[in-house]
């Protein structure tokens, strides 16, 4: 146990675990924490599973091994399992068990103006017990910043000391869901109005958008707030060996957009691919494979794989079949980092730097999607040379995917906050 003052603390609060990362938001969280740690911050990770999703003791132990300051909140915040190497934190959390949970509804009268569903979501994501915990932690360790993930956790922020930088890592801009997701027939229960989203964002001093286009949307919603763009870093791998088989790779979690996308790909595009390339094989990695039986022609459902690098290396082309989505598509970055072409819908390239976007194959319909996949499986001479050229551009892309590039605005915001708190000019 050590005192808190040695390194600046940052409290990160999320409803998903950062490790092992199997979904895009988990990967984003993991990379963010990794960067914070790499830049000499003490990260206190508060894990509050959404709707009290169960986790086993083994899972928590494994998580605690990876994150030495872990606070797992259950039962609407009534129960906290924690491990920390900071004495003040340990004491603050330990004393919570002797106190009743505070009723924060009275302190947030304007929340009743939110749409009822949104209001419920904020209380589910950030129950009173969680606020008690974060408020106590913040008071005890005096972190440089508190970063809850998603707007629905912004309920915490009014109870964070004002000398702490109050941030929100948006990950998604939910008021754009209707345009970006629901229009494609994918229902999203997290869609909110612009008014409600602005209200929730307004609680932060600094709002973190995951890509520049969404940052612009956010600036329009909360013009008085500082908005920084923080994407997802992904270290480029060395040049991969060429794939041998006509393997197509899809990696994804079982969210509705991925599920709809994969099922649609199998129905509309995969038969076209198989017709042109009879030995084509689709490898499905991740929980999105649960949408399939595995009996589909030319499809292998692999589930979670231990060595994703090897899986990418075996594939000629990756696909991101999700037509809809917000934020940044980790799958796109992952494929590029593995130096594999990726075929996707326009949304798959949202928020990517122009240079990165140029390395992707974008389709606007399933017929075109199939053609692009076929093109990568059976590249023409010209296409092959273009691919080789793209490979040569690898180092440039590596720069765009590097942590230094991705987190530059966040680093500046944290530095400013530290300076201000420390009284530097």
């Amino acid at each position: 146990m050590r005192p808190a003052s040695e390194r600046p603390g940052v409290i990160v609060i999320a409803h998903v675990p950062p490790w092992p990362a199997s979904a895009g938001n988990e990967y984003r969280l993991a990379r963010l924490i990794h960067w914070l740690e790499a830049t000499d911050h003490d990260v206190h990770f508060v894990y509050r599973p959404f709707r009290a999703a169960p986790h086993t003791e083994d899972e928590l132990c494994a998580l605690a091994e990876r994150f030495p300051r872990l606070y797992a909140v259950e039962d609407s915040g009534m129960s906290v399992t924690f491990v920390t190497d900071v004495a003040e934190a340990d004491e603050a959390v330990a004393t919570l068990s002797d106190q009743p949970v505070t009723d924060y509804e009275r302190a947030l009268p304007s929340d009743s103006l939110l749409a009822e569903r949104v209001h419920d979501l904020t209380r589910s994501f950030a129950p009173d017990g969680l606020i008690d915990l974060v408020a106590a932690l913040a008071k005890a360790i005096e972190p440089v910043a508190v970063i809850p993930m998603y707007i629905f956790m912004s309920r915490i922020l009014p109870f964070v000391p004002t000398d702490t930088l109050r941030m929100i890592d948006l990950v998604d801009v939910f008021s754009t869901k209707v345009d970006k997701v629901e229009r494609f027939g994918v229902s999203d229960s997290f869609a909110v109005s612009r008014h409600d989203e602005a209200y929730l964002m307004d609680r932060a001093d600094v709002v973190i958008a995951i890509q520049e286009e969404e940052a612009e949307v956010v600036r329009a919603l909360v013009p008085d707030r500082r908005v920084v763009t923080v994407g997802i870093d992904y270290p480029m791998l060395p040049v991969s060996p060429p794939a041998i088989d006509n393997r197509v790779l899809v990696v994804g979690s079982a969210n509705p957009m991925n599920t709809v996308g994969l099922v649609s790909f199998i129905r509309y595009a995969w038969p076209i691919v198989r017709s042109a390339v009879p030995d084509a094989e689709l490898c499905v990695v991740g929980s999105v494979g649960g949408a399939l039986s595995g009996a589909e022609s030319g499809v292998s459902v692999l589930g979670r794989v231990d060595d994703i690098d090897a899986t990418y290396a075996s594939a000629k082309v990756a696909i991101n079949p999700a037509v809809a989505g917000t934020g940044v598509k980790v799958k796109t970055l992952e494929a590029i980092a593995h130096r594999r072409p990726i075929v996707m819908w326009p949304s798959g390239a949202d928020g990517l730097p122009r240079e990165v976007r140029a390395a992707t194959s974008i389709a606007t319909n399933w017929a075109e999607f199939a053609k692009l996949v076929i093109g990568h499986l059976q590249p023409s001479e010209r296409a092959s040379s273009e691919g080789a050229a793209a490979d040569r551009h690898g180092p440039d892309l590596a720069e765009f995917l590097s942590a230094d590039y991705v987190y530059r605005e966040l680093a500046e915001a944290l530095t400013t906050a530290r300076s201000r708190r420390d009284g530097d000019p």
Partner: protein
Amino acid sequence: MHRAQNGSWDLFVDLSGSVMTPEGIEPFARLLSNRLRMSVGQRITAVADRESRILVDGRLFEPPRRAGALAHAIELAQIDGRGLFVISGAWMPTARLLDDVAALATVDPNIGTVQPRFGVGGSGDVAMLAAGSSTSSSVISRTLLPLLPELYVTPEIDAACTYITPTAVTAVDTTSAATGLATQLDLLVGLRRRGFRNLVANRLVADYGLPAGSVYGSHQGEAEGSALAEDARAGARWLEGSAMLKLERMLSQSMRGGRKRLLLDCRGMTPVHNGSAHAILGYLLGISRANNPGWEITVCVGREAADYHRLLRRFPDFQYEFQQPRSHYLVALHLSQPWRMNMLMELHESAPLIAFNILDTIAWDAIYPAPDDLDRVTRLAARFADGMIYLSEHSQKSFRLRFPPHDGMQEVVTYLSTSPDEYHVMGAHPLQQTTGILVMGNRLDHKDVARTTDKLANAFPFFPIVSFGDERPCTNPNVRTVPSGHLSDATVRDLLERASVIVYPSFAEGFGIPAVQGLSLGKHVVVRDLPLWDEIRALTGSNGKLRTFRTDAELVTAVGAALEPDAQASGPAGSGGRAVTWSDCGNLLIRFADELVSRFDYERWQSRDLAITRP
């Protein structure tokens, strides 16, 4: 010169209903004897105004007082084993006719009497058969006689010429005749009671020359008070209720002004724009343009549909009946499918020849859009209708598999117009491709509009889609739904013209009008794989613009290919196909009606009558 068969029959002529005086009997008898070139021993007994004479071998005799003239004529025939012609009225049949009639005595031992038909008036039309007390001045065109069976076997008929066969002559009770109670009708009823029936020879026509109303029933008044009067009424009822008399009534009204009457039953057309209406309107247009001087056309249609489709303005040369046919026709073409039993019965009652237009079999296949008795109605139609018209060979094949028609069924595949000129004017203005993908159909499940629209919205999420026939509220901003049924032709045409590709995903089609319309505009058309489309290709010269699909991936491939810039830039569908025009359809239908008439089958008609109208 024909000579009467020597000694085979005698002749009894009843002139009492005429203006003939007793003095005129002898000259008339001699004139008749000469005309008939009577053989030695052949007798003519003539009666007028209670006077009678017997002429044999040029000599005159009077019947004995103990017996009436008719009874005595029968006695003489009985003695010689001859048959006896009983003629009413001052007219003279030919020897050939009488011999031909007499020759039919041998067709069956229990045929007691034989009668010819009677040509009346200057036109040579034939008097319609009448029963009992009902005299009729109605006539049947001589041209329609071939439609009648060669022979009718009937109860007794009081006619202007009846041949009593030699066998039947022996069965006549001359005793009662001798009492003076007997009448000609008594004689005929008596024969029937002894097991003899009457034979009407429909191919033998006597040139009667007198008014049609005097052909039948001239002795009806004599029957009253007779011992057999009640029995005579029973015989008349049998005849009255017979199919043959029903047919004769129908035929007597089935021509007008020398033209055959054709009923186009368009009651399947409702006040909406749909495939049925398109087909019917096209047929009407074709028939109105067809060269059909032999036919008078009447359209039977619901009043609302007639108003909605402005039939009377469009086709002023047709006659119209509303709601249901009330007149009689020679041929009734139901320009849509068999649907309800009452329509089938009404059609049967309106014309001896009926035919249906088979669009497809989807209602029967799917059941839910069909009335409960559709199966029975359609099977009856397949079993008893005279003809079937099909929109395509595909439609014909589907129908025949489900409803094997009888061997004599006349069938024709008319198609609908595939002529671009009749759908749209090609190249008159630049095509405006602004609606993206147009999914065509209607709300019925087999059209598969909503499902296909959802698939295409998924597969082409950035393409605007118009879903025609989709009655759901719009939820996808890329999709515009347009209910079918009440849009004008111009609006539908506008939708077609603005489409980049037309998708017609129907699972069951008889013709596929939207596909043909689209091709006629030079549009790319994507349809679900059916044998029908091979026919359409041949009829439209689709120039590769008609693509078929089976799976969702094939749908996506086909639509994707159609949307390729190169495909969009390609020219219109070619005219190399064997295009069908509405005039072709109209001429075909008229020829079909003629063909039906030439192949009328009385037995089938009677079977239909028994099956659908008799309890």
